[in-house]
Assembly symmetry: C2
Homo-oligomer: 332 residues x 2
């Protein structure tokens, strides 16, 4: 049992370690190596484990026990790692969390196949959950997979388009990021025996947290301190990604020289001259783009927290507020 | 309701059309195109639909209704098509069932992502099934995905190995082919309300049918009539595949010249000289390899049919026997 006198960050570390133990058991079986070695590698690659944490907290917030949610929590993290393995192939990414990506360390086919295997392992762990609501739990998980795939498909489609609206961007990150968080909230609350009202509130909380999280991610790429960020800033500009910042700037900035500079990121499929990066950062600053993004992140976070009003007071509820704050104030 | 006076092949066509109608509804939603167009394309690509048929027949054989099994039947076929899309990338295959493969018609990333989407759609349809045994049904489906991925991983691993034993080959095709058929039998029988004894019998039936099917597949590559086969024979030899025939021949053939010819298929990763194909066929014939394979197919089929002894007499049971015969006598 967790010690409720512990601070939220101590409890976070406690849950993180439980989740990682469970993840380590996914690859207890070792053969064939072509599936289990890459799976073990990606699952041991660290990360904040925010999705499984959210699932556990939502279970507790409606009166459930964290132990009952642990297999489903592992399932969500496995599913998330499947998306990383396949997305890294599509993005031709060489590194992830400071280590080689699976398709780089092994090869393309191994990454495709071990990614597929991870989906199987995810359902296997999900279905270890003992709950009279297992049918709804499995349906929620399945909806999340479909949404995440759709989000990734839109993301790839938008890369090729000249114009993407902010609304389309929000729709895409909603599918790519928020739907999985919403699924964490729903499954956690289902396992914990939540009422329909509680389930809806926690899903809405997670949805808004997801949007805040993704826009914050876009901001960090420009504003982060490179040391704590762990990589060079401006990566999204170098890759020509249509981020919330860039799309907002294209909506707001009127000065023709600045507009042309912004448009060139899209037209040239990424910044070609390193000096353009501080220049674009300057455009973001002088036109209030960073402030406007900060405000969007804060608004979504406030909206998220307000959804918790109907949830009974508990340590888990406190920790959900702490969780929003941690994501809002993160530096990497 | 099916008309039970119809002949088995008429009923097969009746079920096939029901399955295809259900499959057409998978892609009712059309966007994003990057997922739904390739999914629609592969699902409309034909094929014998033997997996969903088996699932429906096993449901009926234990007293269930075919309508109740239709969503799960579609789910199995969607899952099978996911494996085709991803396997074709790994095998660098340009065509499938006479049409371009997904990664050829679109591109690698679209094939990866639409394949992933198909797994989501498969679970979505599976979970439309109304059954008090839905938890076991979902577990069986998940086991099948993991087994199929493991089988494909062994298949890729064996391609790189110099030596593979017949036992290893059987283990691999068991995972790659039989486990999915076993899953069809199990899920069908679960939906139909089968007893534990009936479920075990039908799973054993399917497992043996799967082995017969795969060895028959290896044989057809050598013995088929090219017109009905729809492609050139000898493809497995050209690709250097370690088939049941080749492994059996390497076990049995003693003559050094013939042995060297067989070994060269493996050493050179495929036949390089077209004249070698009739020569190897001759080696298979004079050493009784084809007979021995035929016998293995017959033995597995007999074993399969014997498992049906405990199943009550019914049109569905008759049709399961017809089904084994159809697979045994197929020409493509």
């Amino acid at each position: 049992m967790p010690d409720f006198n512990k601070s939220s960050s101590q409890r976070y570390n406690h849950y993180k370690s439980l989740i990682e133990q469970r993840l380590a058991s996914v690859t207890d079986k070792k053969l064939p190596r072509g599936i289990y070695e890459p799976a073990e590698y990606i699952l041991a690659g660290g990360g904040k484990r925010i999705r499984p944490l959210l699932l556990i907290l939502c279970c507790e917030a409606v009166g459930g026990k964290s132990e009952d949610a642990l297999n489903a929590a592992a399932a969500i993290e496995i599913l998330h790692n499947f998306t990383l393995v396949h997305d890294d192939i599509m993005d031709n990414a060489d590194t992830r969390r400071g280590r080689e990506t699976v398709h780089k360390k092994w090869d393309r086919d191994t990454a495709i196949l071990s990614g597929d295997g991870l989906i199987g392992f995810a359902y296997k762990f999900l279905l270890l959950t003992k709950s009279p609501r297992i049918h709804d739990i499995a349906k929620s998980f399945t909806t999340a997979i479909i949404e995440v795939c759709e989000g990734q498909s839109y993301d790839k489609e938008f890369e090729l388009r000249k114009e993407v609206s902010i609304d389309e961007y929000i729709m895409m990150i909603n599918k790519k990021t928020s739907e999985l968080l919403k699924c964490c909230a729903e499954i956690g609350a289902l396992i914990g025996g939540g009422t329909p009202g509680e389930i809806t509130a926690l899903k809405d909380y997670a949805l808004n947290i997801g949007l805040a999280f993704q826009i914050q991610d876009d901001m960090l790429d420009i504003t982060a301190d490179e040391k704590t960020f762990g990589k060079k800033t401006g990566g999204d500009l170098r890759e020509g990604k249509k981020t919330y910042l860039l799309l907002k700037a294209l909506e707001v900035v009127k000065d023709p020289v600045s507009r042309q500079k912004l448009q060139s990121v899209i037209d040239n499929k990424g910044v070609k001259n390193e000096n353009d990066i501080p220049e674009i950062k300057k455009i973001y600053e002088t036109n209030g783009i960073l402030e406007s993004c900060s405000k969007a992140v804060e608004d979504y976070t406030t909206e998220a927290n307000s959804k918790l009003d109907i949830i009974k007071e508990s340590h888990a509820k406190d920790m959900l507020c702490w969780f929003s704050g941690m994501l809002l104030n993160r530096t990497s």
